[in-house]
Symmetry: C2
Subunit: 419 residues, 2 copies
């Protein structure tokens, strides 16, 4: 992608409404724009990262046998009345009537819809276990939307629902999903912790939250419901550095939540299966959510500095930004474009900053947008067939021969994805 | 994917509510399930085809310089009041108030939202032209939802919006998009026609509909608004067979609609840019929609027979279905699984019908689900190191040596994607 074409409106000044770094940087780097309080448009760079997270999540859900479907956002109120949540859920539930005056809501979660599907389609123990998931837009009319995509009114979630014949099956599925969640956040390059949590309005027996550890020293982390009855018990160990500490000292951003639901929904909605012995029993359920947009925000909380975002390799909208310090000579333009084509052919996602702007302006934008690697072409390096490689996260800079660029990038990539 | 794991609940009987073939077959083949009138869940096989269409659309939009973003479903009423559509749009517009009593609607289209974005972010002629698009869920509270995903209340659309400095630019963009639309439907394997059309509630100057020609003899095609003032003039030529005929004789299913909007929205919403001469002018817009779910329905209308769906190669959820006539011997199971692994490694998307069911049952399901190629393993063919290849669309059957399977599939693929 050439920067001159990219629709990524950046901002020099910090927007006043942004209380935390990720909100500030997502606005300044042109990843999102607010449409209304707590309602955001994802601009091209933001959507690219959102899709990268979705893709990792999808691969890990598929790996453990999850099957993707897509449920509606509009949900009939009658299903929510069956489970009693029509009354329990507060004004966070967006409710309206259709033209025939029937009650509807915009789904903040899909237990009712999936249970309704499954009670119609799954009848026998032979059909189970089944894991069904979607990546889809959800709605919650927050009383105080804030922190950008972190606490918004319309947001993208992955929600998976598991259906087992017995509690052992459900617990086994829960453990498999727990491991899948660990892989998701590892692949995203994020430090996470799983802590035992309150089941809240979703209900059920056992639940864990997955928290992203933000090392940025941000003071306004929005979610920390870590409780002392932990899993693993009273201490948590960091998935990356291995150090352990007492739970109450830890603070993080909730990006995932998994629940052993048991029969809460299947009993209320009469979702039964015929077991081996011919008897009808309620299906045993689990429910597993990941906030896709929130994971993106958490990644920025964890990886940024005063100049901008420092994307982990696997989440970066583009991994490499090529910066010719000027575009005044045909030679410079040609070398930059050749490099751009070479990298794209080698499978790197590249931005070429072909804009006729001061070098300082381009450097600032590249730092703000947070591409993991910058390749800087100056007049002097051009003469020596060299270029400058800058690693965004460490600010390391090194001059290399241009012919070594693929080798260098490959070694950076290898180091980066193992972080 | 092994059929024993696949969540694709099929139905033997035709559902009474289905008036047309695609609705009937999408239900019977387990592609969709109705949640409420005009509101559907896409099950795994349905979602796979939906994603294939989305992927083709995305590639063709990107090819002409489109940049993908993602706008919210929840839209503030105030924007719709700016353009006057809050009053013009009837009860099809789903309206509600949030907890602070502010007017909102669920977007049936996004002219207001994108114009609001662009008026804030694009200021200079140097920023234009820009093409922004999304693939996203839309809402229309139809008075009489019917025909399954063809006329539903919640549906998936691609909508692209173009922004130019002058009418020539807009017309140029329009022609480029027109060609991109032709490529989309060709790659989907569909016969289409573009006809000049009424702009309806979207408004603007010139518009064309893209219609899918369904040769199935279905009598209840739902949309035919072909008018006589045509482009190409008074006749239309079929994109595939080349025959021309008078417009009024043609009937088809509307799957795409493109509009030259001009300044309808930019003027109402004050979306201005500064031109070369320093003067402020309204941005010249175009708008380009494709119904993703509807394209899927239209493909089934065009390609099916009395036994089920006949997916075009590029839209099939899986291209190949391996059918061992029984799974009673270890040899049969082993050969079927080896074949399955071989094809997957070669990049084919495969289903292995590993279910312990009568062969006739499996054949019926494979025909119903419409995979382009069936590979049938019987006891006799096993002995001769052979298998039977059945082409779903033509019902051609041929015995081949098992070692020739990749070569055979490749030649079928080549023929298929050129249809």
């Amino acid at each position: 992608m050439k920067m001159s074409n990219l629709f990524a409106p950046t901002m020099k000044e910090s927007p006043t409404e942004a209380e935390i770094a990720s909100h500030n940087l997502m606005l300044r780097a042109g990843l999102i724009r607010q449409l209304s309080s707590g309602i955001y448009t994802y601009l091209p760079l933001g959507l690219k990262t959102l899709n990268k997270i979705s893709c990792i999540v999808r691969e890990e859900m598929d790996r453990v046998g999850g099957q993707e479907l897509l449920m509606p956002a509009m949900q009939p109120g009658e299903l929510w009345k069956e489970t009693g949540r029509w009354d329990v859920y507060g004004p966070e539930l967006v409710r309206f009537r259709d033209r025939r005056k029937r009650d509807f809501c915009l789904g903040p979660t899909h237990e009712e819809v999936i249970t309704d599907l499954v009670r119609r389609e799954l009848r026998s123990y032979r059909d189970l276990p089944v894991l069904l998931y979607q990546i889809q837009v959800k709605f919650r009319d927050e009383i105080r939307p804030r922190f950008g995509v972190m606490r918004s009114r319309e947001f993208i979630m992955k929600d998976l629902y598991s259906f087992d014949t017995d509690r052992e099956g459900m617990q086994n599925t829960y453990e498999i999903m727990y491991e899948a969640y660990c892989r998701v956040f590892e692949r995203c390059g994020l430090q996470y912790q799983a802590v035992r949590a309150d089941s809240g309005v979703i209900g059920g027996d056992l639940s864990h939250e997955f928290l992203i550890v933000a090392q940025s020293g941000e003071e306004k982390m929005m979610v920390c419901r870590a409780c002392k009855a932990g899993y693993p018990e009273e201490e948590v160990s960091c998935s990356v550095c291995g150090t352990t500490s007492a739970l109450e000292e830890k603070r993080g951003i909730e990006v995932g939540h998994i629940f052993q639901l048991g029969t809460k929904y299947s009993q209320a909605m009469n979702a039964l299966f015929v077991d081996k012995d011919g008897s009808e029993k309620p299906i045993i359920m689990g429910c597993y959510g990941i906030g896709i947009g929130r994971t993106m925000g958490a990644a920025i909380e964890a990886y940024h500095d005063e100049h901008g975002i420092q994307w982990p390799w696997n989440l970066a909208p583009y991994q490499v930004c090529i910066i010719p310090v000027h575009v005044r000579t045909a030679e410079m333009v040609k070398i930059a474009e050749t490099l751009y084509n070479t990298l794209q052919e080698a499978g790197y996602e590249c931005v070429l900053d072909d804009r006729d702007l001061r070098a300082g302006h381009k450097f600032k934008d590249a730092d703000l947008l947070g591409f993991p690697v910058q390749l800087i072409l100056g007049d002097r390096s051009l003469k020596n067939n060299q270029l400058e490689v800058k690693i965004r996260s460490s600010d390391e800079r090194v001059d290399i021969n241009r012919e070594d660029v693929l080798e260098t990038l490959e070694s950076i990539r290898k180091k980066s994805v193992h972080i």
